[in-house]
Subunit: 429 residues, 4 copies
């Protein structure tokens, strides 16, 4: 396969003619992708790209991971059940046992597993429903810059104004409180606690608090361990359920399997999707403390709760978690990314950057409007896939597959550095 330096124009006319205007990433990355393996993608013209986006966190084990791939092909070849609604299947049983053995038991965790449908929004909507049912309360507290999904229930706890407006109806039953370090003049925990204890605060006692430990879409904002612990204590004190949305930050993205392990908290429910499917296949689970598993049979359902290819891929992917080798490697590579980003930041003080993140979920923000977008455009032209995040797209995200090797990581970081330089030059022209 050839290098990406020659610029052949890709014919995107089919997409322009037939696909809805809502399409977006195909505008940022205007080419047609064909093949992929590990941290690499190739387009129809054979150009190679390093992937620092990883399916927005859905490809932690890389594209078309070969260990998983062979399991999928075997499963298909032998005509095992592929679609099964929520009937019992061998593939589902294997996943449940494996998840118990590799993830829950070693961590001393006791959760029931719910299959809420195959998307992040499904797991969030199911958790919110159950929290409201169990507590009999309706309000849910979420945080500034949170992102939890695009269906109406999930959107109501999402901060992004553009996404919220798309709802076309007012979004209710949610109160947005300041996230950790939202502003130096506002002690977010004091405010949260004050609102709860004050009978005149105008904020009803919530069913749940939902949070991401690192806000992926919100701009790679990291909640400190101490802050998370205190939120947990507040939940306990007020009998509020704590839901961690680990859809993007979970499955090892920050190092350990769950992003909240470092803080030592025990959420009442955990939402997982994206990389839990192992191979980029649609899949989501909701973990529920057994005493809260008060669902009636079928009270939440859906056609694609029994996506057996995803069970197979997810089961195999769990093999990465039999030891803490991957965690250590993520932390090591995360440190490398951190240093590289801080070096870039130091080199360009006038860009007023801020380096953020944990593990392989990092980002660098730029003060000037549109600058991060220009960095990512320059990166794409140089064969690197990166995306922005934050309400004003002010952060360039570094989220390669967790399994990336050092060569790929170094090369990607080097392209990023060049791209910052290029973006600077284009700004000053």
């Amino acid at each position: 396969m050839t290098s990406t330096t020659e610029k052949t124009v890709t014919d995107m006319s089919v997409f322009e003619a037939l696909e809805s205007e809502v399409r977006s990433y195909c505008r940022s990355f205007p080419t047609i992708f064909d093949k992929a393996r590990g941290y690499k993608l190739w387009d129809t013209q054979g150009r190679e790209f390093i992937d620092f986006f990883a399916g927005a966190g859905a490809l932690n084990y890389g594209h078309n991971n070969s260990r998983i791939k062979s399991k999928l092909i075997d499963y298909l070849t032998d005509d095992h059940v592929v679609h099964s609604l929520d009937m019992a299947t061998v593939a589902k049983e294997s996943f449940l046992k494996r998840f118990q053995d590799v993830i829950l038991s070693p961590r001393g965790m006791d959760y029931k597993v719910m299959f809420p449908g195959p998307t992040g929004a499904n797991t969030v909507e199911s958790a919110l429903k159950l929290a409201r049912k169990v507590t009999g309360r309706q309000t849910v507290i979420s945080f500034t810059k949170a992102f939890h999904g695009m269906t109406l229930g999930a959107l109501a706890v999402t901060g992004n104004a553009f996404k919220r407006k798309g709802a076309g109806v007012p979004l209710h039953h949610a109160v947005s409180m300041p996230y950790d370090q939202y502003h130096e003049n506002v002690d977010s925990l004091t405010l949260l606690e004050r609102y709860l204890e004050d009978d005149g605060s105008g904020v009803d006692l919530p069913a749940a608090i939902i949070l991401e430990t690192v806000q992926g879409e919100g701009g790679i904002n990291v909640a400190g361990s101490e802050w998370l612990k205190q939120v947990e204590q507040i939940c306990r004190r007020w009998d509020i359920l704590l839901i961690v949305d680990d859809v993007q930050a979970g499955c090892g993205r920050t190092g350990p399997f769950f992003s909240f392990e470092e803080a030592g908290i025990q959420p009442d429910m955990v939402c997982l999707s994206k990389s839990i499917g192992g191979y980029g296949l649609p899949f989501a689970i909701t973990l529920i403390k057994p005493e809260l598993d008060q669902w009636a049979p079928g009270e939440h359902n859906g056609t694609f709760r029994g996506h057996n290819l995803a069970f197979v891929a997810a089961t195999e992917a769990l093999s990465y978690w039999e030891t803490d080798e991957l965690t250590q490697d993520i932390l090591r590579k995360g440190e490398k990314v951190r240093l590289a980003l801080e070096e870039m930041a130091a080199k360009h003080p006038e860009l007023q950057t801020d380096v953020r993140g944990r593990g392989l979920m990092q980002g660098i923000s730029f003060a000037s409007e549109g600058f991060a977008d220009r960095v990512c455009q320059a990166a794409f032209q140089r064969g690197l896939i990166m995306e922005t995040s934050g309400p004003d797209s002010e952060v360039a995200k570094v989220m390669p597959p967790l399994t990336i090797d050092d060569e790929g990581l170094d090369k990607g970081l080097s392209i990023l550095e060049e791209s910052i330089q290029a973006a600077k030059q284009s700004s000053t022209q």
Copy 2:
């Protein structure tokens, strides 16, 4: 593989111990499925089952359809991109072109295709959002016994009280009007029109009317062509958008590809999921009249909009629609099912049955509470998978794969007949 008459107890303990109480079909069909092909399923003990459920309409082309299967294996083997968010891929391009060539163009239809995420609820939520955005109105009219999904936006236009209550919050911005033939003393169209034209009706002018032409979950209720045409005219008169949710009734279930072709109406938006994925893979699309495609890029998004295995399967499945052979075959087999059900009804007048449906989406209702459930239990014991529908589970549904052969169909219908007999006997004991 052996017959199903011997009753070996299946060990369901893993599911009971680890999976949430919300699981349901695994309770109706208490065994562990392993393999499947066409209209047959086999459990771990080798028992064979005829499938008259077809993944609630997600398996119109049968389990593990061999034509599609080989395409999937090839795609995986050659490392084509599997997960791509909403970037452009070869697989997506092929699907778009094929859908245009095989489905839209021959029918003279002009729609943009949106990939709203992989579930039925995603396509419904996206259609409702867009309808509200385009019209600037908030109310949506849905119909009694409608089922459109389990996320909050979709649940608000769903009739089922049990599902609605699961929301844990009041459901708004929706008005439920009587469906065709809801009651002989209520002219549903007159009421609908009266509510719209009366400035004192208390029903705000809606953004859209959303309907299923045959209500699958609601009890196999069929809307007449004349009724559908008049609803369309009402929409035109009042500048209301018409959304057809063809998630279950579409993709040939009632004979033609779209369930509304017979009525000759032209919806403003069409929601497709379930069998559009071809192989039971999570997939959904929203069809949008071009002038309504007023989305801003990324205004609705989601991680699994680019599920390329589903593009591949969906593209291959469209081959069934190059001629009208399948449609004719569905109508022929539908007629056979109809006659068989009516014969059963005639044989058991005391059961106060009602036979309903179109094509291979048929059902028989029983007046006595719980009777339909007992029929399905008896069928399962005899090697036939069937499910009930309707708000009180009063209808036994006959929904085999569209590709079922006559032998399978006859055998299934014969088991159904036995099962009715058996249910009767168990009732009278």
Copy 3:
């Protein structure tokens, strides 16, 4: 005082300069009123008007009723407490006893009296709150063309699109069902019952059904006694609270003190305002079945619950109800109005009129848009105050004080007849 035939232009400039554009009746009746007594009003130029509007039902005992007036002057003169929040006062005690003795006891009714604030909207909001609290449910069923008030809770159960839109936010927790005789092709009771018993109807079991027995603002629509009885039975069967909003139709307007006495129903709560204040003073009460009086002290409050002038006037006004003399007189005069209206209707078949109402709450509708308004304008020019009602202002209302004498009634009806003739002529010019 002089006749009204000479048209002197009244200077309305103070109102135009200083009062909000929201003012309305002063536009229909463009003069400045100064004095009033019984069924007569006089403007600053001494023109006399017969009042067939009676403060939209707030002046059942006429303007400045002399019996009540002397009580008010005495009360003021002697410095009895005028404003008392909800403290106990002699005036309040007298009212409570009198209401018990004259109204409740003779009718064998057992209700607690709540003082919810001085307006119709206050009593409606309080009844809805309590119904929701007692049942733990949130939905309330109201009817097409209902009018219950302008605050957000009351507006949600009001049908009028123009008024609803003024809310500026979507109105929730209410379902609008067809009122009696809404349309000949819709059996409103069948539909109501079907919606309640059908678990798939999309209408949640309501806390309450709220209705007016005659819809004053909605166009003088009369619910039949049989219909009311059946609604009551439906409420009993489904354990739904029945709230009668008797704000306009109560206090004798239809003949008996309560408008629902004829139907023999027993509402769980009754909302009274307007004429319960006797003299046009702001006052409202909510009657509550004792077992439903589950309020916590102060759970609903308000500054003007203790308007003692209104207690005094209301107490004195109850004297009219010591015998059934007034009721008989209302019915007799109502019959006279009926005959007169039907005669007018018969004389002008091309106006496609409909004569409606009960007691002294009657109206005549005209098919042609704007015609009823022109009738009222012509009446005003001839010295008769009348207003339109109905969502399209299609009904001219005849609602004189209940105490009007035959001379006044005849004269008013005669002006009305002339005014119809005049409106016809102006239309055909």
Copy 4:
């Protein structure tokens, strides 16, 4: 009239038997009031009470103010129109002119006057409606511990949990932000501004900000002039309407006619009720900047917008504002109250008091739960009417009529001092 020291048991049985459980103040002040004048009340047993409650701010000119009383008696005697809906009357014209001449013009203020119905909730609901209409937005920002009324629209911007819960439905379209000095670790203005400018805050751009400059029901919390000015600037910067609810703090309660005059801000709308009626008669007005007066005629209405006795009383009451004499007297007496309260606070450091307020709207809070209630009970036994406020009833309010003389004020304060002593003793027993 005799002293209050002898304790005769009052027979409250009529109220207990016939009035709803929702009654509250008659429980705090368990006697039956008969007469009142100025700052004094007498019960049926002739016991005299000093009134430090003043109808919760509705009796700023004292009970049965003799100047106003004679106007009322004259008006009644001469049969001027008492009830007039929103027609033009001589009494209304006089009020409009007088309000313009005495209040608006001298302050250089330009407002249209709306008569929204006779209660505080009416004026608040009307202001919120108009703000939403004019801006096309739905959210309104209110503040912690705010109280704006008990109808659903007003309750949604009220902080008190007990009152909110009474709604029986979730309250929407409102966001509660921290009031001035809500907590020392939270800079309320920074947070407000950050939420508005951050596109990821989860708080939609509001139609309006509504606030009380001194929170009467919320615990006599005072907003600083600087804070108010900055809120006004934030409103201007973001094109948000500023609504001041001056229902309790207005009409001179804090010294000047409007409570916000000191801060020099110019609200877009002002809500007035309570003492604007002069004599404790139900009355409210909404002041609207002319360019915002975009109401359609009748878009908000109500039966008691034309309460002419209130126009008469209100017009006469405005005479107090022809000079600044009253303002000076209020400020002087306010200072006296302040000193007295601070002296009491200093005398009882162990009660952890906090003295708050402006003008004759002052209060003293006590840390121990229930202590303020005991103080008010002790005061009642000693012939002083006082009430608590704050979400936990932690503040004893000092709100005498503005026209109280020094003798009454001194006597009341002296009883308050005794009552604190008595409450302390009863606590320690």
